[in-house]
Every structure is written in C-alpha cells, then in structure tokens.
C-alpha cells in the first residue's frame, strides 16, 4: 500500500475539519498590517461563508424579482426562495410552523416590534418589564421607550461577580406588576449563558409573557423554542454568518395573531380603503413593504450551513478554544477575565492592568489580531464590574488554537510596550 503523507492534523482537538471550514470563509484569508488576520470579533459580526455569498449572488443574478406579487416566473422563484428561507428559520429554531417566523432587520428590530406591537397596548402605569443587568442595549432601550411613554419601568435582575444571573433575585422580582420578561440567552459582553428554560418556566407559572434575545446564542447553541416555551425569540442574521440587515423573530402563533401591525404599508394588509384597512394574518402582518428578499435568502443559506456542520460540534470546538484561551491567559498575571460564569460561551472579555482596552485594541490590531474594545453596547453589565471598557476576544467555529496563541502573544507585546 502506498503511504500517504497526511497534512498535519490541526492542533485543535475537535471533530471539526478546520482547514475545510476556514477555506469556506474567504474573509479569513488575508493579511492585516502584513500579518495573517486573526479574527476574534465574531460576537460583533461574523465572517461569511462562500455558501452565503453565493446564495446572495445567485439570488440577484438568477432569480431576482419582488416577492408575493407577480405571476411571472422570476417572481414565483423569488417567492419560493424567500419562503423557503422562512421554513429553514422555523426548523433552525424549532418552531411549529413557518407562520410563526417574521423577517426583521435584526434582533434590535424584533425587540422593538414586540415592545411596540405586543407590550405597549397591554401596559399601564406602574407596570414593569423584567430584564437582567447583562442585557445588550437593544434589550433595554426598546422597553424603556415604551415604558416611559406609559409610566411603566424596566427593572434589571442582578448579576454576580462572575457575571452569572442571580436566579433567586430574578424570581423575587417577578410580581403582579411584571408584564413582560425579556432576557438575553447568551451575553455578548460576558459570554454568560442564561438558564432560559428555567427563566421561562418561572415566568409562565405566573402567566408572564417571555422574550429571549438569541442574537449571540444562534451561532453557538442549538435552540428549540417549543422546548423553551417562550413567547418570542429572536436571532440576528449577521451574527450567525448571514447578511446584515436581516433577522428572524419567532412569535408563538396565538401571540402574533393577537398583535396589531408594527408598521403600515404594502403586503401587510388584507384590504385597504379610505374607510379603513384590515390586516393580513401573521407573519405578513409584520412585514410591511418589500422585504430584504435577498438577505432572507442569505440568512437561510447561513442557517443551513451552520446546521450541516452541527451546533453540537461547533459548541464543543468553541469550548475547547475557550478553555485553551483561559489557560493561556491565566499565565499573564496582568490579565483579568471579566465574565467567568460556569458553562459560559466562547466570549472572552478581559482587562489588562495598566493598559486601557482601547490601547490593547490598537496594539493587537497592529499584529493582525481583531478584537473589540469598549462597552460592547452593554454598559450596565460592564459598569457592574466597575469598568468603562473591556477588550473582548470572541470565538467562532472557524477559529483555531494557534489564533489563541496569536492573541496571547500580541497581549504580551502590549505588556512590553507599556512596560507593565
């Protein structure tokens, strides 16, 4: 038998074929400041696989027309592709029907939609919306806007010094005034994975509607909205390797049916006259105007890409990276991790003694290492740790252990420059 020289086995001890996965993402293969890019900012927005880029290109070049409007072939093809993406989304989230999936611009719009169309008509002065202190601003401000207008308020449940939710304190804050619970599934700033099933159970026992912000969960965790039992769940396309400007809102059928439209316009009506108009059934009721057709198709391609690899395998790989990063960073006494909740996702927020996060970001960038520096649109979470900013390395399925080494070496370079 002929002996075959195999390429060196990637150093990452996971079942993923990392070389093949990395080859799927053309954006990873480039030099930044003359150094190979080490992209550790996927929590802000993930790189795109060829499958998504091709889906976008095909949708524009071969089957582009408006949806739900034409009898001609291209319009029918575009409609089929658009609605197929909705069905893929329903499968990805475990919804019982594609009719429970609303295309939105992203998780931010989904939360605004639920705040305006679902909560606002049900809210009176003195009512409360319960969130956690680790929320992204997008899961705080839309509720505040509705609450301020109606004399209600947004109440944060506390987190501990590891960045984990204090579940007892959360439950204590569930009261007769609580009209909505909205909680992040995976924290973008701290990596904390919230016990969302438990949270939903506590709320449902009291008849309180629930929304889960899954923007950061979708690229890392298998989601089953029916098992969770939540009323609403949202994901953002660009965080799960899809296009920007597109996302999905899952709404339980009876909730959506009981909601007024979010915006008025074409496509969301049953009939229009100057005496009054009537609304189309969900999900069309919530999709006024020509939607982001091609974005939706791209999102469908992204969800299929992730599903084909398997979220269990992705999660295992990312946990390996997380543990390796924690181990390597623990060798640098100047580095303090922010967010150390048990079972956390592969988001590593950190501060370096004597060096501001913004300077870390600049120095790492010069080495080709892309991290985010700042408050990560989660100011209350960062302020909980007495900080204004952290540096954040966030990992995705395409990252490698040698990229963790690149991160640690670049931090070492920063320590040298600053002499700390």
């Amino acid at each position: 038998m002929e002996s075959v020289t195999l390429p060196p086995i990637h150093e990452d001890r996971s079942a993923l074929d990392l070389a093949a996965i990395r080859a799927d993402f053309p954006g990873l293969n480039q030099l930044v400041h003359g150094k190979p890019l080490v992209f550790l900012d996927s929590a802000a927005s993930a790189q795109k696989p060829r499958a998504v880029i091709d889906a976008l290109s095909d949708a524009y070049t071969k089957n582009y027309a408006n949806v739900h409007r034409g009898v001609h072939t291209l319009s029918q093809n575009a409609t089929t592709a658009y609605e197929n993406a909705r069905a893929v989304g329903a499968r990805f989230l475990g919804a019982s029907s594609a009719d429970e999936m609303v295309f939105v611009r992203g998780a931010t719009e989904a939360i605004n939609l639920v705040a305006q169309s679902f909560l606002a008509p049900r809210l009176t002065a003195g009512d409360e919306v319960l969130v956690t202190r680790m929320e992204h601003h997008s899961n705080i401000v839309p509720w505040q806007m509705v609450c301020e207008a109606l004399g209600a308020r947004v109440v944060p449940a506390p987190i501990d010094d590891h960045g984990a939710l204090d579940l007892d304190a959360f439950e204590q804050r569930l009261g007769p005034r609580t009209k909505m619970v909205s909680v992040v599934h995976v924290s973008n700033a701290l990596g904390t994975v919230n016990p969302v099933a438990e949270i939903v159970r506590m709320a449902r026992e009291r008849g309180i509607p629930t929304m889960i912000d899954g923007a950061q969960a979708a690229p890392h965790t298998a989601i089953d909205v029916q098992a969770l039992g939540c009323d609403f769940y949202t994901i953002s396309g660009h965080k799960v390797f899809g296009p920007t400007g597109i996302g999905l809102l899952y709404g339980r059928r009876e909730r959506l049916a009981d909601m007024a439209p979010y915006q008025g316009g074409g496509e969301m009506i049953q009939s229009v006259s100057f005496e009054g108009s009537s609304w189309a059934p969900p999900p069309s009721r919530f999709e006024a105007g020509t939607p982001h057709i091609v974005g939706a198709i791209g999102l469908g391609a992204a969800l299929e890409y992730v599903s084909a690899i398997g979220l269990d395998r992705i999660a295992a790989h990312e946990h390996d990276l997380l543990h390796y990063a924690e181990e390597r960073l623990s060798t640098l006494p100047q580095v303090r991790l922010i967010g150390t909740a048990p079972g956390k996702a592969a988001v590593v927020s950190f501060v370096v003694e004597g060096i501001h996060a913004h300077d870390i970001g600049t120095i790492l960038d010069a080495e080709g290492v892309a991290v985010r520096a700042g408050h990560h649109c989660a100011q209350p979470a960062i302020e909980h740790f007495g900080l204004a900013a952290t540096a954040r390395a966030s990992f995705a399925l395409y990252n490698t252990r040698s990229e963790v080494d690149g991160l640690v070496d670049a931090i070492g370079g920063a320590l040298e420059i600053f002499g700390v």
Binding site: T362, I363, I382, A388, A389
Partner: protein
C-alpha cells in the same frame, strides 16, 4: 511595530501613568464634560480664567493612554495662555493630527508634538482630541470667548462628544 512605538512614546506613557493637573480644581470659573461614546471615555476639564488668561487648568476622568496623555499635556500647554492662544494651539494640534491646512497663525506645539504619531491611527484621533473639544466647550462657557465658534459646545449641560 514602528508605528506603535511612534504612537506610544515614552512621554505619552509617562503622562498616562502620572498625569499632570489631574483632579478637581476647587476655584474653577468654568468647566465642561466630554464623552467619547466609541470607548466610553469621559473627561471633565475645569478652568480658572481671569481677564482672558487661563490661570489654571485641570482634568478628571479615566481613559486610554492617548486621551489621558493628551489631556495631561493639554493642561500644561494652556496654563498661563490667553483664551485666544489656547484656541490657536488647539487649531495647530488638530492639523498635526488630521493634516489639512496648517493653522493660521501657526502656534508652537512644544511637547504636544509627541502625539503626532496618532495621525497614523485615524480611529484614535478622537481619543487625542477629546480633552481639547472639552476645553473648547469650557472656554465657551467661561464668558471670555463668547465669540468663538464651538459647534458641539454644550458645556455644563449635555457632555461634549467627539462623534
């Protein structure tokens, strides 16, 4: 790496670790707050201005090496200067960082020249100018510079932002 060494010169690191004129100014005649929403940095600049001259300038706030060093060097640079001279220094400083037309008349930058390396890092220019925009707002609020143009001046009310 050479750009990085140019950015993080010893003078800058020294002013970052041991900022000058840092802390409250008890007998301030004006102040303004600045905020860089990009990184969350906040700075307060307090001035004692008398007969058109900046007798004392101090700053408070936590920030990155660039913004802290710039604030520290700024307080040294404007102390004892007239309001008009301080504004001229800012104009020259801004053209050092951002290029374009040299300020007219050109003011001597002295030690501020060490911040010239920021020019190679456009996203960091706001860090270097935060304290200066805040100074400009405080000057606008001092009553000695009512004619000055400071488009984002919101001294003593909403913080100045560098966005």
């Amino acid at each position: 790496m050479s750009d990085l060494r140019e950015l993080y010169q010893q003078v800058i690191l020294d002013h970052y670790r041991s900022p000058r004129n840092c802390g409250a100014l008890d007998d301030a005649t004006s102040h303004a707050d600045g905020h860089n929403p990009l990184c969350g940095d906040r700075v307060r600049v307090q001035l004692r201005v008398s007969a058109g001259t900046i007798e004392a300038a101090r700053f408070e706030g936590a920030g990155c090496a660039i913004s802290t060093a710039s604030a520290s060097l700024m307080t040294e640079a404007v102390k004892g200067k007239t309001v008009a001279e301080a504004r001229a220094i800012f104009a020259s400083f801004r053209s050092l960082l951002m290029g374009g037309e040299p300020a007219e008349p050109p003011a001597s930058l002295g030690k501020l020249e060490v911040l010239g390396g920021v020019r190679e890092f456009p996203v960091r220019v706001k860090c270097a100018t935060l304290a200066w925009h805040t100074l400009e707002a405080a000057l606008g609020a001092s009553g000695d510079g009512a004619s000055a143009s400071a488009p984002d001046t919101t001294a003593n009310s909403a913080p100045v932002t560098t966005e």
